[in-house]
Symmetry: C2
Subunit: 284 residues, 2 copies
């Protein structure tokens, strides 16, 4: 596995790979890798000739400076994990060289996918994601890029961004990998103390209860949200940022649940903000 | 000269060129080519191994449907001109295949360069320009791209866009090519009747008078604008959209003229909207 810090050096290597006709798979991450990331890497390995992982805690996408500073890091263990997965290239750009002259003053939006959820409660977050994705995609020139559906809105936005701008990258979303109690794997889970971790498990419990209600024929998004909200708020450590029941194609609201339905949740557990998304298929 | 209509076919050819190590120069146009475009092509020929011209009247950048429909076209004569300049590839995408599914719903802005001038009076125009540029750059993968400084704000925005997103394309602005009376070459000039053409010549006259005033030591942007405005409005066919005296680095307003100064003008001559930009160097 090559570990590369310089954008120019990576560009050079990528050009050679492209010209050899090999397909490049790409897993952009912010590090502190967990099983969710490893699943993305395995998919990349399966579908591509050369797999590239980047680890870069992107300052442009944090609306909260404290969250940025507290974002967990462990480059050595991350490198080891990438190596074990058979990753070909690990890109570790240096923070101050990635954006020479600072985060660029550019604003990119996919309006119809940025009307709710994290686009509204984390103002500027996805704009920052698109800045880093645009720069990373131009360096890595991936044929395929892999994202987790835990961050479902991010996945949809990046997929539409790549299509709209003509990147020529196929963006895939992979199923969320979960802890035994159902909590979505997230680098932020590392910041949970034992009490917070217990409270966090109310999120997957709420999803299970939602699944049961849907099986029993519940069709009202409002009732689903209300019951899920009650479950999550049964711990005083939890504060709900949003719970939404939406059309997974375009994130628009729905009057009644039918076909495929997305349930999107963001919860502050103590000071740690966790998000999760689950797709349900409603039987007629 | 290869004439190519299909994006996929062009992508294929470009890949081969890139892998042969040749440098690609690119002149994106909306056709109805004039000497200004030819000057861009000659610069591309000088600096690149392979020169690509595109002709595509981009629906995404017209805020006025009538202006879009009236935009002059002459593909046969344009092709001839490209051939005469020794252009290697002419890209003529078909309108309905360039944006399959319609103009994408994406909004890209360079906020600090889009606070005035055409960004304000032609709402949505530059957003549409950036959509087409992003798509074209991804297909053509140019090492160099050439734009006229007649559209100075557009040039600055595209240059900053390419840098911010990491396109790896060097964006150059070339001096405006002018008619004998000083009117900037523009495809839209073809739409001027004789009376309008006479009125349009007041724009370069206003620039000449501005140059004289500056030589005589005038330092006030306000006085310059006022006098230029009087000159242009001496024809009743002219209606001023804007006249601004700005810092050419970042398009911000200035209190007093010193160093390099940009004078930016947009005028409706009858129904035809013309723009022009001129840089002045102020002697201390």
């Amino acid at each position: 596995m090559k570990i590369i810090q310089s954008k120019d050096e990576l560009s050079e290597i990528i050009s050679q790979i492209k010209c050899s006709g090999k397909k490049i798979g790409f897993v952009p991450t912010m590090g502190y890798l967990h099983e969710g990331h490893l699943a993305l890497m395995r998919e990349s390995k399966k579908r591509s000739d050369v797999s590239v992982v980047s680890i870069f805690v992107n300052p442009a996408q944090f609306n909260d400076q404290k969250d940025f500073e507290n974002y967990p890091k462990n480059t050595e263990s991350d490198s080891e994990k990438c190596r074990n997965e058979g990753i070909d290239i690990l890109f570790l750009p240096e923070a101050d060289k990635f954006y020479p002259g600072g985060v660029p003053d550019i604003e990119m939006k996919i309006p119809h996918l940025m009307k709710n959820l994290c686009a509204v409660t984390r103002v500027g977050h996805f704009e920052g994601v698109l800045i880093v994705i645009s720069n990373l995609f131009h360096i890595v020139q991936p044929d395929f890029a892999f994202f987790g559906k835990k961050d479902y809105q991010q996945y949809l936005i990046i997929k539409e961004f790549a299509r709209s701008c003509g990147f020529g990258t196929e963006v895939s979303g992979l199923d969320t990998v979960r802890e035994p109690d159902g909590l979505a794997m997230s680098s932020r889970n590392a910041r949970l103390g034992q009490k917070e971790r217990d409270s966090a498990s109310l999120i997957p419990r709420a999803f299970r209860i939602a699944g049961d209600l849907i099986l029993k024929g519940e069709k009202s998004p409002g009732i689903l949200r209300e019951i899920m909200s009650d479950v999550i708020l049964s711990s005083p450590l939890n504060r709900i940022d949003y719970i939404e029941v939406l059309n997974p194609e375009n994130l628009s609201g729905i009057e009644s649940m039918k076909g495929d339905v997305l349930v999107a949740i963001a919860v502050f557990v103590g000071e740690v903000r966790l998000i999760d998304n689950m797709l349900f298929k409603i039987q007629e």
